[in-house]
């Protein structure tokens, strides 16, 4: 595990759709003759993330893809991938990928057609320290967001999703989260809400296989699973 965690270049390899879904753990004794079963949860679970239709338009994106493939190195390596949050968090107008893109005052861009960019300011802090394997946390709402239930956030590339609030005390919200806290989040730590990331590894060794079509235009799918081994090793160390 390298010390620095590589982040997926989300501005260049932006998938057409992202599927970031929790995988719960339940056990049961099987179905009864009537078709019912009683299930018991044995863990909150882990994240399964898929990128659908990542466009590989040009040689630069191809090279980025190959570089990432080296970083993953099959299922052993890990990369932090962003899971966009604009499905659950209302971002201000004029934002793209969690960034404000601003032209000059006469609406002209820079000479290379790029804009001034600035991350969207959404401030959410951890109100009370969250220890490993906690499943209920207290978040403090800063600004740029009006509701903390059902959103995703990340801290140090560990991704979480909030549930129904059990207590709202002023700007402090107490909510259950999925999954259990992977690594300690200190009090007053700023949480990433605009563009949360999740440390993942590939779902299979050959997940990043890519074709090279004659038209030089390919859209590829890639599936990830959360790299829980990283958090386990971190906790034991």
């Amino acid at each position: 595990m390298p010390d620095s965690i590589m982040v997926w270049p989300h501005r260049y390899l932006k998938p057409a759709s992202v599927m970031a879904n929790p995988v719960p753990f339940t056990r049961s004794g099987g179905k009864s003759l009537g078709g019912l079963s009683r299930n018991t949860r044995t863990d909150r679970g882990w994240w399964s993330i898929s990128y659908r239709n990542v466009p590989l338009y040009d040689s630069n994106r191809r090279r980025l893809w190959n570089m990432l493939r080296q970083q993953f190195g099959g299922m052993a390596g890990s990369v932090a991938v962003p899971v966009w949050n604009h499905d659950t968090v209302e971002l201000p107008d004029g934002t793209s990928n969690g960034l404000f893109l601003t032209p000059h005052s006469d609406f002209s861009p820079h000479s290379d057609a790029s804009y001034y960019s600035q991350p969207v300011s959404i401030v959410v802090e951890m109100a009370i320290v969250a220890a490993i394997s906690d499943t209920v946390v207290t978040l403090r709402m800063g600004y740029g967001i009006s509701d903390l239930s059902g959103i995703r956030f990340s801290y140090n590339h560990a991704l979480y999703e909030t549930g129904q609030p059990t207590l709202i005390d002023g700007d402090e919200w107490t909510l259950p989260i999925f999954p259990a806290i992977r690594a300690e989040i200190p009090a007053d730590a700023a949480l990433e809400v605009a563009m949360p990331t999740c440390l993942v590894k590939l779902a299979t060794d050959r997940e990043m296989d890519v074709s090279f079509s004659a038209g030089r235009f390919d859209q590829v799918n890639v599936a990830f699973v959360e790299d829980t081994a990283h958090w386990n090793d971190l906790a034991v160390a």
Partner: protein
């Protein structure tokens, strides 16, 4: 607020030869820290855990637990124990921790199964593109005796030892005494299916 719908399955291995070394695993994804601040490492899958039930019914000769997602520390401990020829006798426990509706532990974990490690198999296999490395822990407890041949033979010595435990104040149980045929007889234990 315990609904009984959330539990954690914990596995604790006390390695016999390496002083004060305990492997703590649990059947979950991430790390879990209990009230005593012990870190339990999430092992992604534990196949063969249904074998626990069989062992309780006296059906399993040995309980094979396949540990997947074991980190290098635990694997090294197992290997160290293995190479020192001290693997036999390491204590293996399965514990159940009940949790509340928010999956937070309630009370202390209960020990549901205790056995001693009989063997450890390091199993690497490749099939097609897929290669897996599995650590199989073979665990035995007293039920193991029911299924092996000489364990199911009742000898006079066994019967007297048993009587001394069951009825310490009474006379030794003598029904198997002076029965030479007993050497060749097999008394089958009941099996509940």
């Amino acid at each position: 607020m315990s609904s009984g719908r959330s539990i954690r399955i914990l596995i604790q291995i006390d390695w016999v030869d390496v002083a004060e070394t305990v492997s703590r695993l649990w059947d979950g994804s991430g790390p879990y820290i209990d009230a005593d601040l012990n870190v339990w490492v999430g092992a992604a899958a534990l196949s063969g855990i249904t074998g626990v039930d069989m062992a309780i019914n006296g059906e399993a000769v040995v309980l094979n637990i396949e540990l997947s997602g074991v980190n290098s520390t635990n694997s090294d401990l197992a290997w160290l124990s293995f190479t020192n020829n001290e693997i036999i006798g390491s204590i293996f426990r399965i514990l159940i921790q009940t949790c509340d509706d928010y999956d937070q532990p309630v009370g202390d974990p209960e020990v549901k199964f205790t056995g001693t490690i009989d063997n450890i198999i390091f199993h690497d296999k490749a099939a097609g593109d897929d290669s897996t490395s599995i650590l199989i822990v073979e665990v035995v407890n007293r039920f193991t005796l029911r299924r092996i041949i000489n364990g199911s033979v009742l000898s006079d010595t066994d019967q007297k030892a048993r009587a001394a435990i069951l009825n310490p104040a009474g006379n030794p149980d003598r029904f198997a005494e002076r029965v030479p045929l007993m050497l060749d007889k097999t008394v089958s234990w009941p099996q509940w299916n």
